[in-house]
């Protein structure tokens, strides 16, 4: 059945989007601006891992069809993305004496600098990690699902990272303060939380997750200097759907947007899949409009519930 | 300049309905679990300077935002001059004659003081894009009138020397005076002042008190939030005391000052 295949792909893509949207949402609320360089932070993570994998790729045995070296490269990607973001915060954003709108515009400049540097070093073309593509997992094929062990690795790794973040947010002092600050930055400030330190951690965590998302996107598709910027619209849609500043909203929003994105081909056959709807019913949208659907959802959310599904209704 | 000139001395007038400029009934608002405004009810009589005080977090600013349309109330009613303005957009509330100022006015970048003043007048013909081209004469006339009026008010406020200064380069205290002057250009039926004395040095504060009193004598009704007790007590009558989002008591300043409930609220809530 076609639907199962699309759902499986949706799950994989969602994992990547969730990793991107959590960081964007956190930075949005805690550093108080829409960071248009977030997508390119993902690209930074992906290419860092690409370089690292070139060095340590042959390392050790393998898990889920991926050599240990890949996981080392993943950690490098996360670390580099996090460090680059923190350095950017320290060097570019912090010394600025402008409001959040000024920061937003600056972040566009930062995005271009990231992308330009990557493109200068690696060229504008697509590349791949030097990992042998796998055949789909055999026992799933009868169910109409064609996914590889690599895809499973993406979902599992993303789940581990998101689960780790959940534990951090719920059971650590840092996490509680981050949530407090995301909820209401002013209140957190007056209640004596050292907001500068929290802000730095937010950049680290947000960009680290974005870096991981970039690495997985590179594994799932390919790498290109534009990969992150192209994803930015979808990630913003996820964050707005989830409600800016809500980490769990971002997870939910990322999951939904990722799913819908991959389910686009199904929309034209909607009637056949849903009960109580005539078989001929369908929304005829081509797969090429997957991003446009994210945009339409975003606009609809802004019209109906601008604070997102997890935010307070106004 | 205001047509709300009271027929009788405001302080001696009886509380007949027609003299009420602002009526707030049973107003409610909460943010998540926090109840910011809890069934607040009060009235502002025409021609008064009414003070709105209360300990930190008593909900003074929330009331201002609810009344002026910046927040939408969850329940209750706001009337300006007998018109129900509940749930209206701030600009619509302003069109009904309720003008407000802000606690920390942001500087208008790239404008001189008198340009900043000229934002004040309501319903300027030159605010219509089409009229700029179809009837430039009318736009020019109204602009000349407004400019002359702005300069007259600045003179009355004794800050006319600031007229062509960049608005970003005057002091915070001077800005408060300019704000008040600008609000007068909007010809308010009732003017809400949000902490007019905050961050203003004593000399300018006296000037501010003087101006508010003078404008009041000329017929403008004021409702003001203020932290500085001396400032409120020398200016406002009556004074409304808010605590935990609802009205604790209301009365002339002397009575309020000596009321034990008010003292308790300040000591208890402020700690």
């Amino acid at each position: 059945m076609v639907l199962a295949e699309h759902l499986a792909n949706g799950l994989i893509f969602s994992s990547i989007i969730v990793l991107g949207s959590i960081g964007l949402s956190l930075v949005y609320s805690i550093a108080d601006f829409a960071n248009f360089a977030h997508g390119d932070t993902m690209t930074v993570g992906a290419y860092s891992a690409f370089v690292a994998f070139g060095l340590v790729g042959g390392l050790g045995g393998s898990v889920l069809g991926l050599p240990f070296g890949f996981f080392v490269a993943l950690l490098v990607g996360i670390a580099v993305a996090a460090v680059v973001a923190v350095v950017t915060e320290k060097v570019v954003y912090e010394p600025l004496d402008i409001d959040s709108i000024g920061l937003l515009i600056t972040s566009i400049g930062v995005a271009f600098i990231y992308r330009a540097l990557i493109q200068m070093r690696f060229g504008a073309d697509f590349t791949r990690f030097g990992i042998q593509p796998l055949r789909p997992i055999e026992w799933l094929i009868p169910y109409g699902i064609r996914i590889t062990k690599h895809d499973v690795a993406i979902v599992v790794s993303a789940a581990v990272l998101v689960g780790g973040l959940h534990l951090l947010l719920q059971h650590s002092d840092l996490g509680r303060k981050m949530r407090a600050m995301a909820d209401n930055p002013d209140l957190a400030r007056v209640s004596g939380i050292r907001t500068d330190r929290i802000k730095l951690w937010t950049w680290l965590i947000g960009a680290g997750l974005a870096g991981a998302g970039g690495v997985f996107l590179g594994l799932y598709n390919q790498l290109s200097p534009r990969m992150g910027f192209n994803l930015l619209l979808i990630i913003f849609a996820a964050v707005i759907l989830g409600g800016i500043g809500s980490v769990y909203g971002a997870m939910l929003g990322g999951f939904l947007i990722g799913m819908i994105n991959q389910l686009t081909p199904v929309l034209s056959e909607l009637g056949a899949l849903l009960p109580l709807v005539p078989d001929e019913f369908g929304i005829p949208v081509g797969i090429e409009y997957a991003n446009a659907i994210a945009f339409v959802i975003m606009v609809a959310v802004l019209l109906v519930r601008p604070n997102g599904i997890a935010g307070e209704a106004t | 300049m205001s047509d709300a000139e009271p027929a009788v001395d405001p302080r001696g007038a009886d509380l007949s309905k027609d003299d009420t400029v602002l009526r707030v009934e049973d107003l409610q608002k909460s943010f998540g679990a926090l109840v910011a405004t809890d069934h607040a009810t009060f009235e502002v009589e025409c021609g008064t300077i009414t003070g709105l005080i209360g300990p930190n977090g008593a909900g003074k600013s929330t009331i201002f935002n609810l009344v002026s349309g910046f927040y939408e109330p969850e329940g209750g009613r706001v009337e300006v001059n007998g018109t129900d303005v509940t749930g209206m957009e701030p600009y619509e509330v302003a069109e009904h004659g309720l003008i407000r100022t802000f606690q920390t006015p942001r500087k208008l970048e790239g404008m001189t003081v008198r340009e900043a003043m000229l934002v004040g007048p309501r319903k300027q013909p030159g605010e219509s894009f089409v009229k700029l081209f179809t009837s430039p004469g009318e736009v020019g006339e109204s602009e000349s009138r407004n400019l002359a009026e702005a300069e007259r008010i600045l003179e009355e406020f004794e800050i006319d020397h600031l007229a062509t200064q960049p608005a970003t380069q005057i002091s915070g205290g001077q800005m408060k005076l300019v704000e008040l002057a600008r609000a007068m250009l909007a010809e308010p039926e009732i003017l809400l002042l949000d902490e007019p004395a905050a961050g203003v040095n004593p000399t300018l504060q006296n000037q501010l008190v003087e101006q508010i009193r003078r404008l009041n004598e000329q017929g403008t009704t004021f409702l003001l939030i203020e932290h500085d007790m001396d400032f409120v007590m020398q200016l406002a009558d009556p004074v409304i005391v808010l605590d935990q989002g609802s009205v604790l008591m209301e009365g002339p300043p002397q009575r309020v000052q000596s009321d034990t409930r008010v003292i308790d609220a300040y000591l208890g809530g402020g700690a």
Partner: protein, 391 residues
């Protein structure tokens, strides 16, 4: 105060940045002139560059009346430009996949109409919200417009683009045949006999067209910027709540400002279609949007002459970097180099000169009113009288 009657006083009256800009402009013009006279710069190409500069100035005007006046962040400049270009192309070109072959003026009207509707559609959900929502949504809009142009082949020819766009003056009396008529004219210059082809005269007509567009737009913007209407927009930019509290329907003002800017961007697109005579999805490259942003921030947000200046700087950057590819010792491709340049310019401007090079400096009060009002002692801000030479 005129540059011609008393140059030294004129010079002394300028601010330092103004002097710098003047030196740059004069130097740049001199460079081009030298290029023209020495034959290194073909006259037709020169006219094409001037046309492009005018086009970028229009785009900068458009963004300036959104971001500079009101503080609206529009990241879909390229999309509105594209709507203008495609609107003009699809209505006027013979090969248009939908009803083409109309007079270019019809194309102009249709293109502006579509751009206006699109601006309203994107404004309705976002302009009531915080300024960054428009930024995000407009980024999405740009992508959607690009996708539609690329994929709806039955309407747009897809990636093949639209060819056969006539010149803007086709169907006009006199002007239609002007280039071919002039082509036979021989100019007797001292020393040489110069024959300028039809392409040159066509280029000249295009420059005249863009000069007219730029001139009219500039005059309109200058008038509205110093009006009470413009003052409300500038108040919104600094403090929207204040404007609301003073009884201004800020949503309506923001919408007007957004639509006005989008129309100007579409006008730039219409001109481009008739300049280039060919449009393709490549013209909707989002990078165009950020070139224009650099132009507006560089020129000085809110300053119309700054936007004009910024438009010319973009052409200098774009066409200047084009030659870099010819130098073998530069190891990298020009595309990322330009991208880097834009990025660094944006960051550096926001850091060191957020107000731009030519921020609006003079008081903006309706000219008649200032003349009639009693005069006041002048101070830091210079006053503008009726005949002021900038906004």
């Amino acid at each position: 105060m005129s540059a011609l009657t008393d140059p030294s006083e004129y010079w002394a009256d300028l601010t330092r940045p103004e002097q710098g800009v003047l030196v740059f402009v004069v130097g740049f013009a001199a460079l081009l002139l030298v290029g023209l006279l020495t034959g290194n710069l073909a006259p037709t190409y020169f006219l094409y560059l001037v046309g492009l500069a005018g086009m970028y100035s229009l785009l900068s005007f458009g963004l300036n009346s959104q971001w500079g006046f009101t503080g609206l962040i529009n990241f879909s400049v390229a999309a509105f430009f594209g709507v203008g270009a495609y609107g003009a192309a699809l209505v006027s070109a013979d090969t248009s996949p939908i009803a083409g072959g109309f007079n270019p003026v019809v194309g102009l009207v249709v293109a502006l109409g579509v751009a206006g509707v699109l601006a309203i559609l994107i404004g309705v959900p976002t302009l009531r919200l915080r300024a960054d929502y428009l930024a995000i949504a407009s980024l999405g809009l740009a992508e959607v417009v690009r996708l539609v142009v690329l994929n709806e082949r039955q309407w747009t020819n897809g990636s093949a683009g639209v060819r056969g766009i006539p010149s803007f003056f086709e169907g006009w009396p006199l002007l239609e045949t002007f280039p071919s008529a002039m082509a036979n004219l021989e100019l007797a210059l001292p020393g040489t006999q110069l024959v300028l082809g039809a392409a040159f005269w066509r280029g000249l007509l295009n420059v005249a067209l863009v000069a007219a567009f730029v001139g009219v737009t500039y005059l309109v913007l200058k008038r509205v910027h110093r009006s009470p209407w413009g003052r409300v927009l500038r108040t919104i930019r600094s403090d929207e709540d204040l404007a609301r509290a003073l009884g201004k329907n800020t949503y309506s003002f923001k919408m007007q400002s957004f639509v006005l800017g989008s129309l100007i961007m579409a006008l730039a697109g219409v001109f481009y279609a008739h300049l280039n005579l060919f449009v393709s999805p490549g013209d909707l490259d989002p990078v165009t949007t950020f070139y224009v942003w650099v132009a507006v921030i560089l020129g000085g947000s809110g300053s119309n002459r700054g936007a004009l200046f910024g438009g010319f700087v973009i052409v200098a950057i774009r066409e200047g970097t084009r030659f870099l590819n010819e130098f073998d010792w530069i190891p990298v491709d020009v595309a990322p180099l330009r991208l880097l340049l834009i990025g660094v310019l944006i960051v550096a401007l926001m850091r060191f000169r957020p107000e731009g090079i030519l921020p609006p400096q003079r008081e903006l009060i309706w000219p008649d009113a200032v003349d009639e009002a009693p005069s006041r002692p002048k101070s830091a801000v210079r006053e503008v009288k009726g005949g002021g030479d900038d906004e």
